[in-house]
Every structure is written in structure tokens, then in C-alpha cells.
Amino acid sequence: MATGHDDHHHGPAKGLTRWLYTTNHKDIGTLYLWFSFAMFLLGGTFALVIRAELFQPGLQFVDPNLFNQMTTMHGLVMVFGAVMPAFVGLANWMVPMMIGAPDMALPRMNNWSFWILPFAFAMMSSTLFMDGGGPNFGWTFYAPLSTTFAPKSVTFFIFAVHMMGASSIMGSINIIATIQNLRAPGMTYMKMPLFVWTWLITAYLLIAVMPVLAGVVTMMLFDIHFGTSFFSAAGGGDPVLFQHVFWFFGHPEVYIMILPAFGVVSEIIPTFSRKRLFGYDSMVYATSSIAFLSFIVWAHHMFTTGMPLAGELFFMYSTMLIAVPTGVKVFNWITTMFKGSLSFETPMLFAIAFVVLFTCGGFTGLMLAIAPADFQYQDTYFVVAHFHYVLVPGAVFSIMAAAYYWLPKWTGNMYDENLGKLHFWLSFIGINILFFPQHFLGLAGMPRRVPDYALQFANFNMVSSIGAFFFGFSQLLLLFIVIKTIKGGKKATAQVWEGAEGLEWTLPSPAPYHTFSTPPPIK
């Protein structure tokens, strides 16, 4: 097939412009993954500033305004800079290879949707150096804190959110077009790997809610600069409206961050159990039900805003209903492992930790869903512990599992299994030291987003901070392992893992620059 005069079709271009101009899904996937890792370290640095300040009661290192900027930027960077781009990067790399497509459906737009991101985050981070400081109103940026009382840099924050939204929307349009139009002949919807399925649903969620986020920040922009009163009671608006519009975006957003994780885990567990995934169909239906329910539960974030009893009950029960499809998924993962010939390579360790710890986070979510109890828990460290349990050992662990799982396919080399396991155990222990005590702090009444606290919270905060530094610095090991794997290592076979099934494992390792130019046969 390779013809001499046509070789620019067969390998990457040379030099830096390769990365600027690339339309290759593997290159763009790599860019997304490196970008998200950089943001993970940046957001992690902000988190360590927070934990350093909270190591002891009293004000040690930062003034309260900088502390608030750190909590805000940590949330924004981790959600929009680390977790979401990491999943888009995985989708870029894996979706075409899993469905037998030559590339993404819209390769030029793919390039654009990635290259917007570094500019968006450069702009958002630059606000930290501006007069009055960066965003200090929490990642949920409730009005009027983010409008009337915001630092002047809020306009840059708004435009940064617009840019991230545009990037996500373009990315999801691309993923939907790829999955719906570029599947190899014979790859019916119910034959698609679950990672592809969960991403298809996630992409639709993104299409539905990112424009609403763009809308809410646009309303803020108008309130701040053009004299409208969407969220100002003095002019006939309502600050509670902000919370409704924000959480209409915000709740599906949390599923955007976890559904692809479900997909990753549903790929890894069957491979290392050497069994087919138990209940494939029910997994698809459960994912769809979770996506649907995510649109009708948003006000459970607002139980204390003075909702009437009927509203509290509706949002309480609909929220609890989500535990049913989620329970189906956890049951299926465990049943897949049941009586399988398990082996515990690093991806499997992360996947099992995901199942266990995500379930813990799910249970605290159920506790928070109980409206009368929520009045006690809301805005305490219990909430912080809850969403960090679903996001860190949930979303982030699944991304790490995915990285170890597909790294041999990407680089052609096996990673160092011993170092991988060391990284897992350091992360697993670190994360629990970091976040488990925060449950107790929250139940004892410590409020979130405070730079200082009462003396009775000192011990658990110290433990939590030690865990934070332990976990944070362990991640440098991941960086080392990835670089070491790129540089060399034991050559990987095409199938890589003994139990692996799927189209991506029929390709040689490392995957050639262009794959499936002719559609593969589907069994």
C-alpha cells in the first residue's frame, strides 16, 4: 500500500508544527492527555496550597482572599482542565480504533477544539496576577458573589468559560459524528464497546448542557457590564435563579465526568477477569437512564434555598432513583469478576479501587440526597469528602487505569509493572488518608471553603493534609513511569493483555499513525 511519492500520508510530520497543524486523532489524543496531565499538576498545586494552609488552625501561608482563589481555581482547573480533557483525549485515541474508523469524522475541527483549551486556561490562570486577584467565588460562582461582589478579572473568567464550552461542544459534536457515521460495517450499536457507548451518551449530555453554562455566564456578563438584572433582586431578578440555571448544567456535568469512567472500567474488568462483561445490555440501559435522570435532579444542590416541601420530596426521590441504575452497574462489574481468572495488573488494581471507592462516594451521595439530613451536611467538609470520593478515586483513578491499560498500545512498550503497582498503592493509600477524615470533619460541622477553623478540627485536618502531600507527590511517579515507557521497555504484543478483546487489540503495538483505512471485518 505504501507508495513512495505519497509518504506524508503515512507518518507524522516533523518538528513542532506537527502538533500545531495535526489532524490525526492519535496526535490530538496525545495532546489532550498531556494537557490534562499538566492541568492535573497545576490544579493539584492549588490543592496543596489549600491543604498547607489547613494543616494547622490559624492563618499561616495565604490570606483569605488568596485562599478563596485557590479553592475556586482548583475546582475549575480540575473539572474543566484535567478530567474533561483527559476523557476527550482517551476518546480521540480509542474511539476510532474501537469502532474500526480511520480517524475522527471532523479532523480539522478536532485540531481546533484542542488548541482553544491552552488559550482558555492561560487566560483564566492569568487572572491570578491581575489587580484584585482571580476568581474567588468558588467553582460554582454563585451570583451575586460572582457579579456584584466579584473581582474585576471576572470578565476574563467568563470568556475563559465560553472558550472551554466551545471546545467541549466541538469535541462532542466530533465524537457523535464519528460514532454514528464512521463505524465499520457490521459494528451495530449493540456491538460497540462500552467505552464508546458511554462516550456517545456523554457527548449528548455535553451538547445539552454546555450551552446552558455558556448562557449563565453570558447573563453574568450582562449583569456586570450592561445593567441587566438577571440575578439582582434590586432590579427584579433573583439570585436563586442563578443556582437553578447553573445546576441545570452542573448536575449533568458530574455525570459527564463519570460516565466515560464507567466505560473505561467496563473495558478493563472483563480483560483481567478473562470473561465477557456481565450484562452488556443492562450496562447500556443503565448508562442511558443515569443520563436521563441527571436532568431532573439538579435542585438537590439547593435543598436549603427555601424550596417548598413538594420540591424537596421530588428532588430527593429522583436523586435516590439514580442509585438504581448505578447499582446495576456495580453489580455487573462485580459479577464479571465473580469466578473469573483474575490477575491484578496495575489497570485492574485501579479499576477495582474505582469500583470500591466510587461506591463509597455513591453512598455518601445517598446520605446527602436525604433532604432533611442535607440541612445538616450542606456546605460542610462532608460534601467535600463526597464529591472528592466520586471524582478522584472515581474519575481520576479510571483515567489512570485507562492510561496504564492502553499505554502499551500507544507507545509499543510495556510500562514497568512494579513501578505501576507502587504508584497504585501510593495513590490508593494517599487518597484515603486525604479524603476519609474529611467525612468526620464534615459530620462534626466544619464548613467548607474556610482558610481557618476551630481547634477541635485540628487533628483530622493535619491527617488530611499529610495525605494530600503524600498523594500529590506520588503523581510525579506516574509522570516518570509514562516517560520511561515512551523511552523504551519490554516490547508489547498486539494483544498486550491475555484477556483483551476488541478491535484496538488487533492492531500492532504501537498503533500505526494511520489505522483502519479499510474497515476491518466485524465478527
Binding site: 469524522a105 471532523l106 484584585g132 457579579t147 456584584t148 461582589f149 466579584a150 473581582p151 474585576k152 471576572v154 461542544i169 459534536i173 457523535i176 459524528a177 454514528q180 457515521n181 464512521l182 451538547i207 445539552a208 448542557v209 454546555m210 450551552p211 446552558v212 453554562l213 455558556a214 448562557g215 449563565v216 447573563m219 449583569d223 456586570i224 457590564h225 450592561f226 445593567g227 438577571f230 439582582s232 433582586a233 434590586a234 432590579g235 427584579g236 433573583d238 436563586v240 435563579l241 437553578h244 440555571v245 441545570f248 448544567f249 427555601g306 424550596m307 417548598p308 420540591g311 479499510t518
Partner: protein, 193 residues
């Protein structure tokens, strides 16, 4: 041959699908803004939020007073942050009969050395009874302009609907006074710090 055919087909398929998805994005952006009136209508219909309605005409003939029932009405005033006016009701609470037209006066004074504009925003608790409190006259319907040092007595005329649920014996009408001077003169609102 077949590869070319497939390629072309998928290109037009892509164009159609992308057009639909872009339309969905635009529609959802619009939906975000549509949530604003939807929210207002929802609050009005259900009476949530404690928001009272606009001006109502009192028809004395139609409104025979229910003397058998007495409802206590309490008045609360609050200044929004950075608002320095003296602002309080002349009576803290009154007893009214449903259907009867009442008047309460509120006192306001601008103690500052500049002309200021204020907007009062009412709220009723319990919020379920908000739609049963009808105002025929209220200083909250318009913005109030006070010169430096000026004081004013502002009336509120209202009646309680006879359809007020039987279990409501006490209602609280609260006013929050906002400083809207900057908005009033038409300059862009700046952040308060």
C-alpha cells in the same frame, strides 16, 4: 470505487448530523435564557418565592369583608448591603380582616450628603400565602428618589384575599431596600469592592 463511494456518503452524512447537532446547541443556549421567564412564571403560578404580584384594583362592592376572621400582619424592613437609609415601618404589626382595605406607612430617610435612588423588594412569608396579599398601592412599585437628608413617609395599601387558607393566621411582609443610584443615572454598574 466502493471506498470512494463510502467516503462521499459519510461526508454528506456528517454535514447533516453536524447541522442537527449545531441546531441542538443553539436551541439549548436559547433554553438557558428561556429558563428565566419559565422560572418567573413557575414562581408566579405556584406562589413560591414569596413574591407578591403587581398593583391590584380594590373593588369595594365585590369585596365584602370577612369580619369573622382576623389575620396578624407583621412588617419587617431590611437594608441591603451598603445601603445607609433609615427605613422602618410606622407600626410593626396590625390585625386585619380578610377583604378589608388597610394602609400602613413606612418611614425612610436618606442620611447621606448625596441624592440617592432606592428600590424596595417585597417578600411574604409563609411563601404559600404571598399570592393572597394584594397591594393596591406600594412604594415598591416604583424607585424612590431622596435628596440628601430628605425624609419621606411611604404608604402601602393592601387587602388580604378571603380565599386565604384557613390555617394561615399570621403573615410577614418584608421589604429589602436596595441602593440603585448607579443604575438609575445610567452608568454601568461597577463591582462593589
Amino acid at each position: 470505487m466502493s471506498e470512494n463511494g463510502q467516503q462521499r456518503k459519510s461526508f454528506s452524512d456528517n454535514a447533516k448530523l453536524v447541522a442537527k447537532l449545531v441546531l441542538a446547541v443553539v436551541a439549548m443556549f436559547g433554553f438557558g435564557f428561556a429558563l428565566v421567564p419559565i422560572y418567573d412564571v413557575f414562581c408566579k403560578v405556584t406562589g413560591l418565592n414569596g413574591k407578591t404580584g403587581g398593583r391590584v384594583v380594590y373593588e369595594a362592592a365585590a369585596a365584602d369583608v370577612d369580619l369573622s376572621r382576623t389575620v396578624t400582619l407583621q412588617f419587617v424592613t431590611m437594608n441591603n448591603i451598603n445601603m445607609n437609609w433609615v427605613f422602618h415601618p410606622e407600626q410593626n404589626q396590625i390585625e386585619v380582616h380578610p377583604g378589608e382595605l388597610n394602609e400602613v406607612k413606612f418611614y425612610a430617610k436618606n442620611p447621606s450628603s448625596v441624592r440617592m435612588v432606592a428600590q424596595a423588594v417585597p417578600s411574604v412569608a409563609p411563601s404559600g400565602s404571598a399570592s393572597f396579599l394584594h397591594k393596591t398601592e406600594c412604594f415598591c412599585f416604583t424607585q424612590q428618589v431622596l435628596e440628601a437628608g430628605q425624609e419621606i413617609e411611604m404608604p402601602v395599601r393592601f387587602f388580604v384575599d378571603k380565599a386565604l387558607p384557613k390555617d394561615v393566621h399570621k403573615m410577614t411582609l418584608s421589604y429589602t431596600l436596595f441602593d440603585v443610584t448607579e443604575n438609575f443615572v445610567g452608568t454601568p454598574k461597577l463591582s462593589a469592592n
